[in-house]
Symmetry: C2
Subunit: 723 residues, 2 copies
C-alpha cells in the first residue's frame, strides 16, 4: 500500500534539504512554507510540493514607508485619568505609552480631531479651554473644575508594527530597522501596495501560495513605556482609524464619529463591551473598505496563477471571515492557529473559501523542544482536543510552524506526527463534506452573533484569563459535540425572531458584557420574543449572568423563565425558602463532581417550581425550570472538562425536552464520544483521553454494547457492524 | 461592704415571689418587668423595685378594632410577576399571601389607589384596561401585550398583628383571638388610643414605667400562604401606609405618591435600596406624624407620674431615635435587644432620653435553658461582645427577658449573671459620662447617614445573612474600638462637606446598595468633595465595592484614589502588571491570616503606586494607595473577628497618617484591648476572650509592659500605676 500523502504543510529552512525530504515523505506533506525570518533554499522550492510564501502588505517596506510618514497607520489613544487639583491642569499625553511605537499626530488639527473629556461630569471640554504643547506632548487645560478627572483622546501615528516590535524586543534584534506600518487608505500607500505586489509576483515564480500575513490593519496592540504590552484586543479596530478614515466615514455614513467612539472611556470597544451603533457602523465601514482593497490584491495573485491565502491574525482587522464582505475578497484559503476545538471550528467553519488550514501545536521552538522534555505530550493533547472538532467539521489541511531542524532532533515526536498526519488524512477522506449526526441545534445568543462565530469571550487569541475560562468551556464543549451550532445576535432575534430549527439558546457571560447582553435585556421586543419562543417549547441555557440587567424588579430579566435570580442585596428582605436540591436529575446523572469554575455568587431559586440540582454555600449553581412548554437551565459557570461537556450535553437535551434521544450515538464513558455519519453509514468511536477506556456505545436506536479503546484511539465502524 | 444594687431589670412571673426576691438580691435588680403573655403578681409589684408594664398602643384591643375594621392598618403589596401569554391576563392578587393576615382593600377605589404595571416596558397600564374581580381577588387585564410581565400593586388591610401572629402560629395558640392592628391616623382609633391609655394609667397604679411595645406601625413583616415569613424588613415603612396617609401626604408635601413609591418593583424600599427622594419625603412625613402622636401619649404618662419607655422594635416605625423628630417625643427611656457590640451602641448612643437599657442574651427560653446545656457560655459570649461597646459608651441599665423560673434552675448561670451585673455596675460607676480616649474620628458614609446610626446592612434585627456579614464586621469592630464614630450621608457631604474633625471615611457595601451608594457616585459634587478632602490629607477606607458605579471608564468612581478597580470584563484587554504584594505593611503587621468573608472578585491594582498587601487567586483583597496628602485603603470584606478588628484599626491609623500614634493606649495581643479615660486617669485592660491572655499594654506615651489577664478579665488601673 502506497504511503498516503497530502493535506499537510511543513515549515522548512535553509540548509535542510535532505531532512525536509525525509519528513515530507514520512508526514506525507505536500506543501512547504517559510516562516517569519526564515527563507527557503531554491532546492526546496523545487521539491514536489506547493510553496507558501509569507507576504506582508502593509509593513516590511521601510524604503517606501520612511518617505511617507504622513501615511503611517494611526490610533486613537486615551491619556491617563488626571485629577485637577486646581483650575490649571497639565496632561502628559504620552505617559505610559511607548515613544518608539507611537507619536502624537500634530499634522491634523488637534482641535478638530482630539477631545478633552471631563470624566467626572461626562462632558467634553470646550476646545477654547485647552491648548496643546507640542514640544512636551502635553495638553494644558485652563479652566478645569478642581477635583474632576480629565482625559485627552488624541490621534497618534503608529511608527512601529506591533508584531515586529514584539519579536524585535523579545529577540533583541538590536539595530534591525523598525518596520513602519502604512495605511493603504492613503494615496501613495494604496498605489504602492499594488505595484509592489505585481512586481513581487513576477519575482517569485516558485511561490504557489501567497500567504498574506496579513492584510492592512493590525488588531489593537499597544505597548507601555517599558516596551511591554499595555493593551491587546485581538478584535480591536484601534489601528484602522485615521483622520482620512474619519472623513471617509462621514462621507459614507452621513455623520461624524467622535474620538470617544474609539477610546470608549478607555475600554476601546473591547469585544466585551456591548457595541454601540456607531461602532457597529464603523466596523461595517472598515470591513467594506478592507474587502474592496483586499480583492484587488487577491485578483493580482490570481492573475499571476497563484493562490491567495490569508493568515487569521495579526493584520486581520476588517477581514472577519464571518462578516458580510468576506466572500467578496475571493480568497482561496485561510490558515489559522489551532489551540483548541473552538479555534479549530473557527477556522474549519469559515464559508466562501476553497480550503482552510490549521496550524497545530506545538510550535517548533526551543520553549518546547529542549533536552529532557517530551513534545509528544503537548502534541497529543493538542491533537485530541482538535480531533473532536475535526470529527464535526474538518479543516482541509493541517500544518506546523517553527524550526523543522529542531523537531527533527526528537524522533519520537517525528513518529507521533507521522501517526497524526495519517490519522488526519484518514478522517478527512472518510467524512469531508459528510454531514455528521446532530441531535440538536444550539444557538449562542449575544450582542455579536454570527460575526464572532466561535470567538466569544476571547481577549488575546487563545490566552487564558481568569474572567473567561468559565464561559469558554461552553464553546469548547460544543466544538466537538454532536450538535449544530449557530451564533445569533440580539438584533437578529429582534428583527427576525429565533430561527425555526433552533432547539436551545445559550446566553453565557458576565453581566453588562456583550456576551450576556447588558442593556439589551431591557428591550421589550427581545425579551418578549425569547419568552414566547421558550414558552412554545424552546430550550434556554443561561450560564453565569444570563439576561442580567437590573430593571423592574429583576436582575435576570428572564428570572421567571430561569426560575432563579441573583441577590444583589435589594431582595434580602424576601425569605428564600427554596434551597433543597432534587435527589437526582437527568442533567447530573453521569457526574462525579461539580466544577463551576469562577462560579457565580448569590443565585437563589424563586419558587418550589425550580428544580435545584446543585446547592452549596447558600447558593444555587445548577438548576432547571419549566416555562410553558419550554425549559430553562441555569449553570453558574462551565470551564471545559469532560465532566462539564457531559453536563452541558445533558442540559441541552433536557432543555430541548429530548431526553429520550440522548442515548443515540452516545458513549456512556465521559472520556469517549461517538460521531455518526448516517449518509455514509459510518461511525467513529473515539477515546479523547491518553488512558485506556471502556464504554458502552449506543447506536442510533439506543442499543448499546461494551467497547474498550486504547489510549487516544479512534475506531471506525460501519453501521452494518452494529448489533 | 453592702452588696451593690441598681441598673438591672428582671423579668418575673406569677407564683415566683421568693425566688424573685432572691434573684433581685443576688443580681442587684431594681426593676421588674412583665413579658409578653406573663403578668406580675400583686406581691411582686409591691417589692422595692420599679415596675415596668408592657403596653400595646395599636393592638390588643380587639373590642375596639373589630368594630372599626375600616381603621385597620394597611399595606401596599405587589402581586407576583405574571407573564401574559395572550391579550387577556388574570392576576391572582393574593397568590403567595396569607389570607389570615391581609385582605384586599375594596373600600377605597382600586382605580385610584392601585396600579397595574407592565414590568417589561416599565409602563403603568391604563386603568381603563383592567378590572377587579372582588369575589376571586383577581385583576383582569384586557389588553395585555403578550409575553410581557405584569404586576398589580394593591392596598390591603392588615387584619392580624404580625408579631402576635408569629407567636400565635409558633406556639399553637389555637382559637386565641387574632390581635387586629389599628391605625391611629384614623379618627376613632386616634381618639381611642388616648382615652384607653388615660384609663389604663388610672387602673395601674403600681406601674412605674410604661413600656411601650411599641407605638403605632410595625416594621414590614408579611407572611406567605403557608403562614410563614415571606418578607421582613426591620426598617420597613410598609405598614404605615393607608389611603388616609396618602391623602395627608399630598396635603403636606404638595404631591401625590404612587403605589410604586411603596412597592418599589417588589423590593419595598429595603434599606439596601438607595432611597428615592419620594421615599425620604414619606419617611419624614411618617416620622413627623408619629412623633406628634407619640408625644401626646408620653405626656399622658408623665401627667400620671409614670415614666415612658419605648422598646426599640416591633411597632417602632417612625420613631427612629436618630431621626430629627425623636427628641420631640419626650420619652424617658429606650430599651432594646443587645446581640452584639453594634446593637449595644445603637441603644447606648441614642440622644435625647434620660436613660437606655439593653436586654441581654440569652433569653430565658427553653431553646437555651434545657438539661445538658450550659447557658453560661452564651451569656459569657454576649457579655464579652457587649462589654467592648459598654466601655466606649455604656447603656444605663441592663436587663433580661423570658421566664425567670427557667433561669433559676441553672445555679451556675445565676452565679455568672451575678458577676456580670456587678461588673456592669462597676464599669458604669467609673466611666458613665466620661469621654474615653479616641485616637481617631471615623465617618461611615452611605445613603442613610445619621438616621441609621449603628444600623447599616441589617435586614431582620441582628440575624445573619451571607450577604451582610462581611460588612457588618466593620461596625462591630468599631463598636468597641477607641475611635469616635459618626454616620454621614452623601447628601450631608454634598450640602456641608466632610466635618472638620473626621480623620477617616469608610464606605462599605455591595455595588448599587444604599451602603455603597449606587448612582450617587455619578454625582460630581460628591466625588469632587471627597477627592478634595482626601487629597488634603483625609483617609478613606473602601470595603467590598466602595464608590461602585460604572461610569466614564471606572467602576469604582474613586478608583484613582483607591488605586484599585474591579474588572467587569470591559478592561480585560488592558494588561494587569501590578500583582506583587509588598513584603510587609503596617496594616498587616499583627495578622496571622486573612479572612475577607465573602470577599470580592476581580479587584486589580491600577499602577505600581498601589501598595498591594494581599494578593491571591489573581486578585487584590487588601491594598493601600496615596492620593495627595491623603491615603485610601481597600479591603475586600471584613467579617467580625479579633484579627479583622486589628486589621481595621491599623487600616484606620494608616489611612489617617497616624501610624505613630497607634501604640498609644494599646494592647499588642489582639484578644485584649485597652480603654483609657484621661479625665479620670483610669484605664481598663480587658481580655475579650475566654482564655488567659498575655499582652503588652501600651500607655498614652507608647511605653509598654507585660500583663497577663484571666479569661474574660477586666482590670482597672489608675494612670499613676503606669511605668
Amino acid at each position: 500500500m502506497k504511503k498516503p500523502r497530502g493535506r499537510v504543510t511543513l515549515p522548512s529552512e535553509q540548509n535542510f534539504l535532505n531532512e525536509t525530504k525525509e519528513l515530507m515523505e514520512r508526514w506525507g506533506a505536500d506543501a512547504i512554507r517559510d516562516s517569519d525570518g526564515t527563507k527557503l533554499d531554491d532546492e526546496i522550492k523545487k521539491l514536489e510540493a506547493k510553496i507558501y510564501t509569507t507576504y506582508f502588505v502593509a509593513r516590511g517596506h521601510n524604503d517606501f514607508a520612511a518617505e511617507h510618514m504622513d501615511e503611517c497607520q494611526q490610533l486613537y489613544l486615551m491619556s491617563e485619568f488626571n485629577t485637577a487639583t486646581a483650575e490649571m491642569l497639565e496632561i502628559d499625553l504620552m505617559k505610559g505609552y511607548f515613544t518608539e511605537q507611537v507619536r502624537p499626530d500634530y499634522l491634523h488639527d488637534p482641535k478638530k480631531y482630539w477631545e478633552v473629556v471631563d470624566r467626572t461630569s461626562g462632558e467634553v471640554v470646550n476646545t477654547a479651554d485647552w491648548e496643546v504643547d507640542k514640544e512636551t506632548n502635553r495638553v494644558v487645560i485652563a479652566k478645569a473644575v478642581p477635583w474632576h478627572e480629565y482625559t485627552v483622546s488624541f490621534l497618534v501615528y503608529m511608527i512601529w508594527d506591533p508584531t515586529q516590535m514584539y519579536n524585535h524586543i523579545t529577540n533583541n534584534w538590536g539595530d534591525k530597522p523598525h518596520e513602519i506600518p502604512f495605511d493603504v487608505r492613503q494615496p501613495h500607500a494604496n498605489q504602492y501596495m499594488s505595484s509592489y505586489l505585481k512586481q513581487w509576483l513576477k519575482d517569485n515564480p516558485d511561490t504557489d501560495v501567497v500567504r498574506f500575513t496579513t492584510l492592512f490593519y493590525h488588531f489593537t496592540l499597544v505597548f507601555n513605556n517599558h516596551g511591554k504590552e499595555k493593551f491587546v484586543d485581538w478584535f480591536g479596530y484601534g489601528a484602522s482609524v485615521s483622520a482620512a478614515a474619519l472623513d471617509a466615514f462621514e462621507n459614507e455614513k452621513g455623520y461624524r464619529l467622535r474620538p470617544e467612539d474609539f477610546v470608549d472611556q478607555g475600554y476601546y470597544n473591547s469585544s466585551f463591551r456591548v457595541p454601540t451603533p456607531a461602532y457597529l457602523d464603523y466596523i461595517d465601514f472598515v470591513q467594506h473598505f478592507v474587502a474592496e482593497e483586499a480583492k484587488k490584491l487577491v485578483d493580482l495573485v490570481h492573475e499571476s496563477g497563484k493562490e491567495a491565502m490569508m493568515f487569521l491574525g495579526d493584520n486581520w482587522i476588517g477581514t472577519e471571515p464571518y462578516g458580510k464582505y468576506f466572500a467578496s475578497i475571493g480568497l482561496d484559503a485561510v490558515v489559522g492557529s489551532v489551540g483548541s476545538g473552538a479555534t479549530l471550528r473557527m477556522i474549519a467553519d469559515i464559508p466562501d473559501v476553497r480550503y482552510t488550514e490549521g496550524r497545530f501545536l506545538p510550535y517548533f521552538f526551543p520553549d518546547t523542544f529542549y533536552e529532557g522534555n517530551n513534545p509528544v505530550i503537548e502534541a497529543n493533547q493538542n491533537w485530541l482536543t482538535a480531533r473532536r472538532a475535526i470529527l464535526r467539521n474538518p479543516v482541509d489541511r493541517i500544518g506546523y510552524g517553527g524550526y523543522l531542524s529542531l523537531a527533527y532532533k526528537f524522533p519520537e515526536f517525528v513518529s507521533y506526527i507521522e501517526k497524526v498526519t495519517d490519522e488526519f488524512r484518514d478522517i478527512y477522506d472518510k467524512i469531508k463534506g459528510v454531514k455528521p449526526y446532530c441531535g440538536l441545534k444550539v444557538a449562542i445568543l449575544n450582542a455579536w452573533g454570527k460575526l464572532r462565530t466561535w470567538q466569544t469571550h476571547m481577549v488575546a487569541h487563545a490566552l487564558w484569563y481568569k474572567q473567561i475560562y468559565s464561559y469558554l468551556g461552553v464553546l469548547e464543549a460544543l466544538s466537538g459535540a454532536p450538535v449544530d451550532v449557530c451564533f445569533l445576535s440580539f438584533d437578529d432575534v429582534m428583527n427576525d425572531g429565533v430561527p425555526e430549527d433552533v432547539d436551545v439558546i445559550i446566553n453565557a457571560g458576565d453581566a453588562g458584557t456583550a456576551f450576556s447582553g447588558g442593556e439589551y435585556w431591557a428591550n421589550e421586543t427581545l425579551v418578549a420574543t425569547i419568552r414566547a419562543w421558550i414558552h412554545n417549547g424552546g430550550g434556554f441555557i443561561g450560564v453565569g449572568e444570563p439576561s442580567a440587567y437590573q430593571y423592574q424588579g429583576h436582575y435576570f430579566q428572564l428570572a421567571n423563565v430561569l426560575g432563579v435570580d441573583k441577590e444583589l442585596g435589594f431582595s434580602l428582605s424576601t425569605d428564600k425558602y427554596f434551597v433543597t436540591p432534587v435527589n437526582e436529575h437527568f442533567i447530573a446523572a453521569d457526574l462525579t463532581r461539580f466544577d463551576f469554575g469562577e462560579s457565580m455568587k448569590n443565585i437563589y431559586a424563586l419558587s418550589e417550581e425550580t428544580e435545584i440540582i446543585e446547592y452549596s454555600d447558600g447558593e444555587v449553581h445548577l438548576s432547571s425550570h419549566s416555562f410553558g412548554a419550554g425549559r430553562a437551565v441555569y449553570i453558574a459557570g462551565l470551564p471545559y472538562s469532560e465532566e462539564n461537556t457531559r453536563l452541558l450535553m445533558r442540559a441541552l437535551y433536557y432543555a430541548a425536552h429530548k431526553e429520550s434521544e440522548f442515548h443515540q450515538w452516545h458513549a456512556s464513558n465521559m472520556y469517549c464520544e461517538v460521531h455518526a455519519y448516517p449518509t455514509i453509514k459510518k461511525m467513529a468511536i473515539v477515546n479523547n483521553s491518553m488512558a485506556e477506556q471502556t464504554t458502552l456505545v449506543y447506536d442510533g436506536d439506543g442499543y448499546s454494547r461494551k467497547v474498550t479503546l486504547e489510549p487516544s484511539e479512534i475506531r471506525w465502524e460501519d453501521f452494518s457492524d452494529e448489533r
